[in-house]
Assembly symmetry: C2
Homo-oligomer: 195 residues x 2
């Protein structure tokens, strides 16, 4: 039996993964109003029935998608080679300016007006936020036992989120690069990693 | 004639203002999908015809509304008594956590998926962004002739925007107050207003 079920499980996992990736892309491109299970199933090349087997509701699919992609990005970030502060700051800010942030933003805004989504997205956001904070502390070698360091890291992640928002309607790369270069220095001094 | 038309103009201006305020409240509470000229007219106690006389399209009404309220807030900010840095930082961050920011956020996200809105909101955003920057520079007594100061003020406004986003789904006041207190010190040191 094991010989027969293993490939089935693999196929099922691959299908789930294709659906999650298509769901994030769909949310980033079309927003919540344009994102349905059918649209995502078609985009992923999966039947609507198979999609609904994996994700019974629209809320299930899109919250799972944002969580899955956030985990993928966290792993990539943890694997970052070298820990020079400017590179770390740049890599963290990059997380907030790509399609994942765009997808998450659509989900947050939709959740602020839809009761069904609200509780789930709030809970997801808290989990993803804690994980981002943990990774930032680790990569920045921040010593949270020192007073104020926790808030400094949090404020930096708030800035990254704001930079993501500024990139929503126009390509903000040129301005952002200058802001990030300057704030990497400020952050370094504030964290006392050299001072 | 002047005696007759003056009160008419006043009434017209008052109607316009009621519509703009109702439009921002509507956008903040219901999002773009739930915001139409009819809904706003009813909320403002104005006939649909009168509303359409002032604002022929939905896009006209909501972009004008966000601009009007942003101008109101800018004036309030300029009139801020005393210029202690912690108070200034707190007042600027407050601008990004209230109903105006919520309304603007809904408009930005809708504009990212709707061609008709995109150009207008992008242009509005640039104007409001420049004005916020100018006010922040003034209130913080930041000397933009010094290298890096411009980017430091920009990054702070990005942080304020990120703090606004973090307040969308839950009341983030307690965490935010600590972050703002800490970053006011960092900003003060970075701007060299005392150092």
């Amino acid at each position: 039996m094991a010989v027969v079920t293993a490939p089935k499980q693999d196929r099922s996992r691959a299908t789930r993964q294709r659906l999650l990736e298509a769901a994030v892309a769909c949310l980033a491109e079309r927003g919540w109003a344009g994102s349905t299970v059918s649209v995502v199933a078609e985009k992923a090349g999966v039947s609507r029935g198979a999609a609904q087997h994996h994700f019974p509701t629209r809320e299930d699919l899109f919250t799972a998608a944002v969580e899955y992609v956030a985990e993928e990005r966290s792993s990539a970030l943890r694997a970052l080679p070298g820990h020079h502060i400017a590179a770390v700051v740049g890599a963290i800010v990059d997380l907030y300016t790509g399609p994942l942030f765009r997808a998450a933003l659509h989900l947050w805004v939709a959740a602020s007006n839809e009761e069904q989504l609200r509780a789930r997205v709030t809970e997801l956001e808290a989990r993803v936020g804690r994980e981002s904070h943990r990774i930032a502390v680790e990569l920045l070698h921040a010593d949270e036992t020192r007073p104020g360091v926790r808030e400094i890291v949090q404020g930096f992640l708030d800035m990254a989120r704001g930079l993501g928002l500024a990139n929503l309607l126009t390509d903000d790369t040129v301005r952002r690069d200058k802001v990030v270069a300057q704030w990497a220095q400020v952050l370094e001094a504030a964290l006392g990693t050299r001072g």
